[in-house]
């Protein structure tokens, strides 16, 4: 019995993580993307040390100063230092992305697994639920959730998280549908293994790679959605130093004081771009069809 099981598992000469890392690092663009993300993470962690001013301290007499010696990125409408706010904003943005994607991912994957594996009524139910979720215009969904729960970062993360569930569910369901027919699953079933064990031991690990790709791509989407919500005034509670909110404030200041919007905008762009490029690279590597 055990020898059959052993022969069913694929030979693994090297840990998959190391393999992955090796292939990732071969590409210059990917290396830059990873570097950028790590730099932002470092900035977020070391914010209190790096920021030259308190991001919340207002100096009304120094409002809208252009970038200069005292303030490298200038000041905003209330005289707050933009560089410091951008630095502290990294914390919030990284957190939003991480939590939202986690929520979408966990819930979406579970739903997708259930729907794909059990099929039939459960599948129908779950997919109709997903369809209903997707039929809501993304903004409306997020708006109503935030309107019900109140503004604030926590609720934004929930709103964005819920908005992302559908993609994960669909993706995983699709994967499960094809993995389900694979030989080793058949074999596991015929040996009498329980459903849950099959799902978690055999199906989930094989369904995960596309999920990882989606995760890094949707990280960017999560950040942009949160920025969009802040744009509508439903995101971070003022005076929080969140990039989306800063962009929103900067809307009316763009002409006379473009630096108030340009710097947070570039910051968002950098992280989102880096996350997307990383996602691209992951997909190129993990998708066997694309191997050169």
């Amino acid at each position: 019995m055990s020898s059959i099981q052993n022969s069913l598992s694929l030979p693994r000469p090297q840990s998959p993580a190391r393999l992955l890392l090796g292939r990732l690092l071969r590409n210059a663009t990917t290396v830059s993307a990873i570097t950028v993300l790590m730099v932002f993470a470092l900035i977020a962690i070391a914010a209190p040390v790096l920021a030259p001013y308190d991001p919340y301290q207002v100096f009304p007499d120094q409002a809208l100063l252009p970038p200069g010696y005292a303030h490298w990125m200038g000041t905003d409408l209330l005289g707050r230092d933009i560089l410091s706010r951008v630095i502290y904003g990294a914390r919030i943005s990284l957190l939003i992305g991480f939590v939202s994607v986690s929520i979408s991912g966990v819930v979406g994957v579970v739903l997708g697994l259930l729907a794909g594996y059990y099929g039939g009524l459960i599948d129908n139910l779950v997919m109709r639920l997903i369809d209903t979720l997707m039929a809501f215009p993304g903004i409306l969904l997020a708006l109503t959730i935030v309107a019900l729960l109140g503004p604030g970062l926590g609720n934004v993360m929930i709103a964005v998280g819920v908005g992302g569930i559908a993609s994960y569910a669909r993706l995983v369901r699709g994967s499960v549908l094809s993995i389900r027919e694979e030989v080793y699953v058949e074999a596991a079933r015929s040996t009498g293994a329980r459903d849950l064990r099959i799902i978690f031991r055999h199906i989930l690990p094989n369904a995960l790679p596309p999920v990882l790709v989606l995760a890094s791509m949707s990280y960017g989407w999560a950040l942009l959605s949160a920025a969009g919500l802040s744009f509508l005034g439903l995101g971070a509670i003022p005076p929080a130093a969140e990039w989306g909110a800063m962009l929103s404030d900067g809307r009316e200041l763009m002409w006379d004081a473009p630096w108030t919007a340009v710097f947070p905008g570039i910051a968002i762009l950098c992280i989102v771009l880096a996350a997307n490029l990383l996602g691209d690279a992951l997909r190129d590597i993990l998708d066997p069809r694309l191997s050169v």
């Binding site: 209330l78 809307r251 002409w255 006379d256």
Partner: protein, 539 residues
């Protein structure tokens, strides 16, 4: 192969862009001699603009071209004849008799007469609570009687010192009875008035078009000319996005842009082809209500301390870029009934604020920077809204109050929620502003005890003395007496620290420098379309 395609595509795009660029001479679009068409931009498009139903500022500045009112105000705030050629007030100020002009016709050809006036008052009354502004302006009217074809007698329930003022606002426009009868609820799409311009077309949310009324001969006497207006056509566009207005003006999309943001002005101010008008609005400035029924703002000393700790002059300089003056009371500085002695009532004095708090027992016993008393921290809850620069000012206030040891919790609410919170008294500090134009409609709805339970008096202060002052002011016809009453009322409001004033509203209007004859009448919001024209002479 693909490379070739890409290259030719790119060349094509560049070619198109270059050709489009060559078209532009870098100057503003030319305007024909004796023009012409004036294009203006307003803010958020209303789906409907009916003078008797709606309240937005657009009623004042868009519809004022389409309708005449019975009375106008001249530059010295005197009441002068409009559609009413003369009038008498009798019976202690409760009976108004108007003799109307006899040479006026509506845009649809119907004659204007006393019957039409009666119809208009009937219409406003029948709209009751659907009328968001007009009905409240003439709420003191008891009966309207036609005594002769061109004479009308209006009896009020009690004297109303603002009756004539209210009649001069475009909300009390004289609409055509025939048109209303014909179109009913769709009247706003087929408006007919007596004004210098005729309503041509409204594509909802997109643009309003007005064309010159060739038969117009009854302009108020204070204008420079009589007969039809100079402009041939007026077109209103809508730019709900504040940051898009200055670019639209600069790009020549519009000739006049309303409500520019103070932070978009640099290019317009530098541009020789444009100028900026600053219009100070009368009535209610921006301020915060301080809830007298919720701790800790139920303590007068805490409220006063807040007023001393706040420095809204610094705020106005930073946030409105020095354009709006700081407010000092519940009425804006340009309102005739404004009380100048309020200017120095609460100078910025953080030390005094701290002293007052200490005397009341609020001390920082645990060193966290926030005062407390008997274990209760000194914390207030403030509700912010998305308009009127509420958020930056609230953040500033939070910072300034923190410096004297008061903790401020901020919450953004949308309009309806904030109102509900104010009515239920859930917040200590609530933002408000710009809802009233005269002293009457800026004070009574917001401070009278009739409105503290379920109305808009969010300070929730029940004071018989204040009530008396406000009630008296409304019915006192003598100007000097009325002003004194209202000034005393404002003094009382500020003595009790019922509000924390922020800034007076100043509307910024960007104008193409070729536009002549533009001035601002009533309230500051009614443009003089009748006199406007383009100057195409030397530039």
């Amino acid at each position: 192969m693909m490379n070739k395609i890409i290259r030719s595509f790119a060349l094509g795009v560049i070619a198109v862009l270059v050709l489009t660029a060559c078209d532009d001479t870098g100057e503003a679009p030319p305007i024909a001699e004796n023009s012409g068409k004036l294009i203006l931009s307003s803010t958020k498009p209303g789906s409907r603009l009916d003078p008797h139903l709606d309240i937005q500022w657009e009623v004042l500045y868009v519809l004022s071209a389409v309708y005449d009112t019975l009375i106008y105000q001249d530059d010295d705030n005197n009441f002068v004849p409009g559609l009413a050629a003369s009038w008498q007030v009798s019976n202690g100020g409760t009976v108004y008799s108007f003799q109307l002009r006899e040479d006026v016709t509506y845009h649809d050809g119907e004659p204007f007469n006393a019957e039409a006036v009666r119809f208009n008052f009937e219409r406003i009354k029948s709209l009751s609570s659907r009328s968001l502004k007009a009905a409240s302006l003439v709420s003191t009217v008891d009966t309207v009687v036609v005594t002769a074809p061109y004479t009308i007698e209006i009896t009020l329930k009690h004297p109303d010192s603002f009756f004539l003022f209210n009649l001069s606002l475009p909300y009390i426009a004289m609409v055509s009875p025939a048109a209303v009868k014909q179109w009913g609820d769709a009247y706003h799409l087929h408006q007919a008035g007596t004004g210098p311009f005729m309503f041509d077309e409204y594509s909802p949310g997109d643009r309003y078009r007005l064309v010159r009324n060739p038969d117009y001969r009854w302009a108020p006497a204070f204008y420079q000319h009589q007969g039809p207006a100079y402009l041939e056509e007026i077109e209103w566009r809508f730019l709900p996005e504040p940051s898009s207005r200055a670019p639209a003006l600069e790009a020549g999309d519009v000739n006049v842009a309303f409500d520019l943001v103070p932070t978009n002005l640099k290019r317009i101010l530098k541009s020789p082809r444009h100028r900026v008008s600053y219009v100070h609005i009368t009535g209610q400035p921006a301020y915060w209500f301080l809830n007298t029924q919720l701790a800790p703002t139920n303590e007068l000393v805490v409220r006063k301390a807040m007023l001393y700790a706040a420095d809204m002059a610094a705020g106005a300089r930073a946030i409105t870029r020095g354009i709006s003056p700081p407010a000092h009371g519940p009425l804006s500085r340009v309102t005739p009934e404004y009380a100048p002695e309020l200017d120095d009532l609460y100078p910025h004095n953080p030390d005094l604020a701290r002293q007052l708090l200490v005397e009341a027992g609020w001390i920082d016993s645990d060193g966290d920077g926030i005062r407390d008393r008997n274990g209760v921290p000194l914390r207030v809850e403030l509700s912010m809204v998305s308009w009127g620069q509420s958020i930056p000012f609230s953040i500033l206030l939070q910072s300034q109050l923190r410096e004297v040891g008061i903790d401020v919790g901020l919450e953004t609410m949308d309009h309806a929620v904030q109102i509900e919170a104010g009515q239920q008294g859930r917040k200590n500090i609530s933002f408000t502003g710009s809802s009233g134009y005269s002293a009457a409609d800026s004070l009574k709805p917001f401070f009278h005890s009739d409105n503290t339970e379920s109305g808009f008096a969010f300070a929730k202060f029940n004071d018989p003395e204040l009530d008396r002052l406000l009630d008296q002011g409304e019915i006192t016809l003598d100007d000097a007496e009325r002003i004194t009453l209202y000034q005393t009322a404002q003094q009382r409001i500020m003595d009790q620290a019922l509000i924390l004033p922020i800034y007076d509203f100043v509307l910024l209007i960007g104008v193409d420098s070729r536009v002549e004859g533009l001035e601002w009448r009533s309230v500051g919001l009614v443009p003089t379309f009748y006199e406007m024209r383009f100057d195409v002479g030397d530039r």
